[in-house]
């Protein structure tokens, strides 16, 4: 109970110490970024967590490309307050590793610098990056981050349960919404008033953008300025995706069973035959392959109503904070972390490890289209159904979309997630909830864009 008091004191102390830096970052000259220069000293990087063989290989290569400078990492995921405070107090890191959604917010507040000069000076070919990933770090015609990694969704299903119900993966891959509802009805099982098997989990609220896009709607206009949360097609998508839970006894029962599952372990929902099908991010294929390799699985891309593969992508990005002491070296480091050769070497390290463990290499989605192609050719077979799963992942990656960068990223996200949650909790109907979310989101966008205009003019 005392935590809020401590939190408030910390916040107040923090804010009282903070010194505003004001205004927009002055763009640097391209000439200061020179691909032939060697750097000395130390560059500091904030936000890297969970260093594995892929990260280690890439970090080593990027460090070597600096020509002598050392790299000091702040362990752990990016702490936004710590980062912003460091910028405000004039002692930021040289490079920050953020979730791509955050880049628009950082850029609009002047916490990071535009990378035009860095890209030009270091001769970074931005054409190699995934279009959706690049869009997420582009605001006001400027690129503010170097993107990497992609998370995309595919359809994962329990083949045994599908067979028993006389269904196929095509019934649950999103291409026919009536089929999904029918499948959910057939697959779910109750006993003693309790839900024992979830037929179909539409994974709300997180995948609302995916269901909306599958129905032909975007939650946000391409320029990131206009919310479209109460578009009739979004309302229809939310009505359907939430309605799938109702056919199985309601969201409360589905969530309770989902919460009780050993999601990352051997007792996962597929291994225990507690889940029929769901759209899920690609990394879960690896979890299933590691923890329950004998599970009878079926995979396919998630598909829109026309049967086309579709995925809602997100990932990470490198950004250079305003006031960074060594932006040139930071730019070089970010470039080399995301080069095709670096990714190839990292993938080889993963292949070697997986081979040693007698496990298949299921690929890495890099956010770099050329690197993805290269790595796809390095895949090692894992037999069925895993190879089909990996194929679906690459199909999804080739057909992904993202929410455009905007200066009110967190508030916009909160608005649509709250809208979905109100429906799931039975507090509002889809239309009413999305109408309210539209108002909240548009107000936040208008205010944030006004701030952006004020700062950039």
């Amino acid at each position: 109970m005392k935590t809020p008091i401590r939190l408030a004191v910390l916040a107040l102390a923090l804010t009282s110490c903070a010194k505003g830096t004001g205004g927009q970052a002055a763009p640097q000259e391209a000439g200061t970024f020179n691909p032939g220069a060697a750097y000395t000293g130390t560059i500091t990087v904030m936000g890297i967590a969970g260093v594995d063989e892929v990260a280690t290989t890439r970090l080593d290569l990027a460090k070597a490309a600096l020509g002598g400078a050392d790299v000091k990492r702040t362990e752990g995921d990016l702490d936004v307050q710590q980062f912003l405070s460091s910028v405000a107090s004039g002692s930021p890191p040289d490079l920050v590793y953020a979730i791509r959604d955050q880049i628009g917010t950082f850029a609009s507040r002047g916490a990071i610098i535009p990378l035009g000069a860095c890209i030009e000076g270091e001769q970074i070919d931005v054409g190699m990056y995934d279009d959706a990933a690049l869009a997420q770090v582009t605001l006001g015609d400027e690129v503010w981050g170097i993107p990497e990694f992609n998370q995309v969704q595919i359809t994962m299903a329990n083949a045994g349960l599908l067979d028993k119900a006389g269904l196929t993966i095509a019934d649950v891959n999103g291409s026919g919404w009536e089929n999904i509802t029918a499948a959910a009805r057939k697959l779910h099982q109750n006993a003693g008033g309790k839900l024992k098997v979830i037929g179909f989990d539409s994974k709300l609220p997180e995948f609302l953008p995916l269901w909306a896009k599958a129905n032909g709607a975007d939650l946000l206009s391409e320029d990131g300025r206009t919310a479209r949360l109460n578009d009739p097609k979004v309302v229809e998508a939310l009505t359907f995706a939430a309605g799938v839970y109702d056919t199985q006894g309601g969201f409360a029962k589905v969530k309770a069973l989902r919460d009780a599952a050993d999601f990352f372990g051997k007792g996962n929902q597929f291994a225990k035959n507690e889940l029929g099908a769901m759209p899920m991010e690609q990394w879960y294929v690896n979890v299933l392959n590691d923890e329950s390799p004998k599970a009878a699985m079926a995979f396919d891309a998630f598909r829109d109503k026309e049967g086309n593969p579709l995925a809602y992508s997100s990932g990470r990005a490198w950004a250079i904070p305003k006031g960074a002491k060594n932006p040139e070296a930071a730019c070089r480091f970010a470039k080399h972390m995301t080069l095709v050769d670096t990714w190839r070497a990292a993938a080889q390290a993963r292949v070697d490890l997986r081979t040693k463990e007698n496990k298949p290499f299921t690929g890495i989605l890099t956010g770099n289209e050329q690197a993805d192609e290269t790595i796809e050719s390095m895949l090692t077979p894992g037999g069925q159904p895993w190879d089909t799963g990996v194929k679906a992942v690459y199909e999804a990656n080739d057909n992904n979309f993202s929410l455009p960068a905007n200066p009110a990223g967190e508030e916009f996200k909160k608005a649509w997630q709250d809208a979905a949650n109100r429906v799931l909790n039975g507090q509002m109907g889809p239309k009413e909830s999305l109408d309210r979310a539209q108002q909240e989101a548009q107000a936040a966008l208008d205010k944030a864009w006004a701030g952006w205009t004020k700062r950039t003019n």
Partner: protein, 296 residues
């Protein structure tokens, strides 16, 4: 001599005074200034007068958060007091192993609040949680504690009883201080256990009860960690429940997720005023019901 003592005393407490001035008073005053500005941590605070306070009245989530917080406080403070007093009375009556039970009751208080939040999700799971399993033994079909908006706050109240141990210890200390002669006299007068408790024990420990009520009320109005962990953070990165949106959670979101430090500061000051007002009311009411020894 007195002046020298004063100087020495001031010298000894000066580290605390300096710490208080720098780390408490100054931030509090500065937050008052920030509440009159538009401030996002990065850029200079922009003076906006009382706009943030005016915006509070137009924000529907403020009303929701206040309602949630007040309902939670109205349920949790009496519940905690009754349970703590019952346990303290039991401990006071126990002849043996009171030390062990005191420790046992206090131990859950040592559980980090974040763990309590996660524990809540497990214990109150609508399908496989312990609470509903026990209710099932009695033929009761337990509710969806973690998703049904009508049951979210009662679940949080029940969970708050987990950490009632500290209050038990405070009340037990007060019970031990009640003079035995008063009980003996009541016994001679023919008063049973219930009457002795109501007419002797409760009046004699009423200052302690008052203290507990004030402190628990302030704590309840600032509730954050358990509800945030269970319904807004941890495993629920996207799922949330409006019924658990307490005032300080909304303040946290405004300050640290949306970077509206000015607005959040205004929220903090409004909460401070509300807590002050409630405490003043409690003090006024206490004059009628709280018995202080030696007071006419």
């Amino acid at each position: 001599m007195r002046r020298r003592d004063t100087r020495a005393a001031l010298l000894f407490i000066s580290p605390w005074i300096i710490g208080f001035l720098i780390f408490t008073l100054w931030p509090v005053l500065y937050s008052g200034y920030l509440s009159l500005t538009d401030y996002d941590v990065i850029n200079d605070p922009n003076f906006v007068g009382f706009d943030n306070y005016a915006a509070l009245f137009e924000d529907p989530k403020i009303g929701l958060a206040f309602r949630n917080t007040l309902i939670f406080a109205a349920m949790s403070v009496p519940a905690q007091l009754v349970v703590a007093l019952a346990l303290a009375l039991l401990l006071n009556a126990a002849a043996r192993a009171t030390g062990f039970f005191r420790t046992a009751f206090f131990l859950p208080k040592m559980t980090p609040p974040v763990a309590v939040g996660i524990l809540l999700l497990m214990l109150f799971n609508g399908q496989s949680g312990l609470i509903n399993s026990v209710l099932g033994v009695f033929g009761i079909d337990g509710p969806s504690w973690t998703t049904d908006p009508g049951w979210v706050k009662p679940g949080l109240v029940l969970m708050s009883l987990w950490t009632v141990g500290a209050t038990v210890i405070i009340l037990l200390a007060a019970l031990r201080a009640v003079p035995q002669e008063l009980y003996d006299a009541a016994l001679v007068d023919g008063a049973g256990w219930w009457r002795r408790t109501l007419r002797v024990t409760v009046p004699m420990i009423s200052p302690t009860i008052f203290f507990v009520v004030v402190v628990d009320t302030i704590g309840a109005l600032q509730s954050f960690t358990e509800a945030y962990t269970a319904f807004f953070g941890s495993g629920n990165t996207t799922y949330s429940n409006d019924a658990a949106l307490f005032y300080v959670i909304y303040l946290f979101q405004q300050a640290f997720e949306f970077l509206h430090m000015g607005y959040a500061s205004a929220m903090a000051w409004v909460l401070f005023i509300v807590i002050m007002a409630i405490t003043v009311v409690q003090v006024l009411v206490s004059r009628r019901y709280v018995h202080y020894e030696g007071r006419p």
